[in-house]
């Protein structure tokens, strides 16, 4: 049963992050996920300082606020003339450092240590249960399910608006789409996804799950819907294969899952039909062969 919960948690992280990550890749803001995955620590610590509790609900609120603050500050620095990558670098290191300082100053004796936030521990997931509506499931599974529901609802309602404002924001603005409100709503979802996932797989590996599967799907998709489906599928594949390989080699589960994302990406990159790397090499060799043939 424990194995089932760990697998389910991993797969839910794969699905939720895979879904959310698609628009990060398409909007070319993958690195903002890196920033948010670190600055949610700041939000969680502040939420703990205010409420003196580690309840999942306040963690989600704190993370959402931290995510919005990150997005807002990055945009503010950018409009002040800084490049996006520099703005992200400044904002995320500052807020993350503040988060670490606050933990050591005000939350030294609670279960809120930096290593746990960065690496997570998916193997402990089954021992922390919540009962909602008479159903008892691990807390991580509940949080991921709730956040996944938010993500699905958002995309069901605003799919075509998200697609248009991502592809052509100038045109989207001209037909009256609220592109700024949509950007902040989406970044709130990224923050919620991050905090729901990082308790089990850790902040660093959330970034891998947000970016890797979507980037892999991007290589082989001709439509946004196709990219979403592939991205979620790659997320689940990495989670499941990662779990069993970690068990086989007795190593970190979250680490193995992230490693599998890299493996899947490389496989698609190398062997994708028509414009994968090996395919191109093969075609080039074939062209060479025909040239030789013509000469002789």
């Amino acid at each position: 049963m424990n194995e089932f919960w760990v697998l389910l948690t991993g797969s839910l992280v794969g699905i939720t992050c895979g879904l959310t990550g698609v628009f990060l890749i398409l909007r070319k803001t993958a690195m903002i996920a890196d920033a948010i995955s670190h600055t949610v620590l700041f939000g969680i610590v502040v939420a703990f300082m205010v409420t003196q509790s580690l309840s999942g609900f306040w963690m989600l609120i704190g993370a959402a606020i931290a995510g919005l603050l990150t997005t807002f500050l990055v945009q503010l620095l950018q409009s002040g003339g800084l490049q996006e990558d520099a703005a992200i670098g400044v904002v995320f290191t500052s807020l993350f450092a503040l988060g670490v300082l606050f933990i050591t100053l005000f939350a030294g004796n609670v279960h809120l240590d930096v290593e746990h936030v960065l690496m997570g521990e998916i193997a402990f997931v089954p021992w922390d249960s919540w009962e909602i509506l008479g159903v008892s499931m691990p807390k991580a599974v509940w949080m991921l399910l709730i956040v996944l529901l938010f993500n699905i609802l958002f995309l069901v309602i605003f799919y075509k608006e998200m697609k248009l404002s991502t592809f052509d924001s100038v045109f989207a603005l001209s037909i009256g789409l609220p592109i700024v409100a949509m950007h902040y709503s989406y970044m709130t979802l990224v923050s919620l996804t991050t905090v729901a996932a990082f308790d089990s797989v850790g902040a660093v590996l959330v970034v891998a799950m947000l970016i890797g599967p979507a980037a892999t799907a991007y290589l082989m998709s001709k439509s946004v819907v196709g990219m979403i489906v592939w991205s979620m599928a790659f997320g689940v594949m990495a989670a499941i294969t990662g779990y069993y390989l970690a068990k086989l080699w007795n190593t970190s589960i979250a680490g193995m899952m992230a490693a599998m994302i890299g493996v899947l990406f490389m496989l698609v990159f190398l062997f994708k039909p028509h414009d994968g790397w090996t395919w191109k090499l093969f075609k080039r060799m074939k062209i060479k062969d025909t040239e030789v043939h013509v000469e002789s």
């Binding site: 075509k160 001209s174 789409l177 196709g226």
Partner: protein, 249 residues
């Protein structure tokens, strides 16, 4: 009826004034070229009219009303290089985006929306490429798709930002034929253009712009050597070759 009325429009980026005191009144049913040197503020003028710039002052009326996207009166072709053509979608899907304003939030495109989008693709000669990934289209084909998307908006007043840049000769002929067709149907079209050689042939109305309006009105009155010299400053080297047959003196 006036297609466009602009009163005291000014735009500044930080401390640099890009457009100053623009005043325009242009009646409906004209194919209007917006002409001026690089950096004259041609694209900025369109964006300011479409209410896309926060730091503008002045009043803009389209069809004698303030701009409201819900009226669906305005169609827009942004600059082609403003978007990422590797975006995973096909030509028909991009044209369908022209229907989003009519469809409204939340709802999905209907069969009729798809039919309209397909007809618009056909109008620009691209129906055979409906399923093609946009990244596999040539520059001219991409521009036709953008034009088809604007046609799918079924608007009254169209604004097009440099639709002739980087396209092949066949595409240029297709685009100008469609623009003239729109004019024949009583629509008003505004086109940012920088090729003086073709401007007088394409447009029956002109806005000569260099930070402010140099001249605006029917082509035969505005497209004169004096006005062009004023709009372009001393930078109009090739005037001698063009004035004999292209300008009206």
């Amino acid at each position: 009826m006036d297609a466009l009325q602009v009163t005291n429009l000014s735009v500044a980026y930080e401390e640099k004034v890009v457009l100053q005191n623009v005043n325009l009144t242009i009646p409906v049913g004209h194919l209007t070229g917006i002409i001026g040197p690089n950096g004259a503020g041609k694209s900025t003028l369109i964006k300011a009219i479409l209410n896309q710039l926060p730091n503008k002052t002045g009043v803009v009326h389209i069809l004698e009303r303030p701009l409201n996207p819900k009226d669906h009166t305005v169609g827009y072709v942004p600059q082609r290089n403003a978007v990422d053509w590797d975006f995973p979608t096909n030509a028909l899907d991009v044209v369908l985006m022209g229907r989003y304003g009519h469809i409204g939030m939340i709802k999905k495109p209907s069969a009729k929306d798809k039919q309209i989008a397909m007809e618009c693709l056909k109008n620009v000669g691209m129906e055979a490429f409906a399923d093609r990934s946009i990244g596999q289209l040539s520059g001219g084909q991409q521009q036709r798709v953008f034009l088809a998307r604007a046609l799918a908006q079924e608007a009254e007043v169209y604004f097009m930002d440099e639709p002739f840049v980087g396209v092949d000769a066949a595409t240029e002929r297709t685009i100008i034929a469609i623009l003239k067709d729109l004019k024949a149907k009583g629509k008003s079209v505004f086109v940012v253009h920088h090729d003086l050689q073709t401007a007088a042939d394409y447009f029956d109305w002109m806005i000569l712009l260099n930070r402010t309006i140099t001249a605006a009105g029917p082509t035969e009155q505005t497209f004169t050597e004096d006005n062009l010299q004023e709009a372009y400053g001393g930078k109009l080297f090739f005037m001698d070759q063009t004035k004999s047959n292209k300008t009206f003196n």
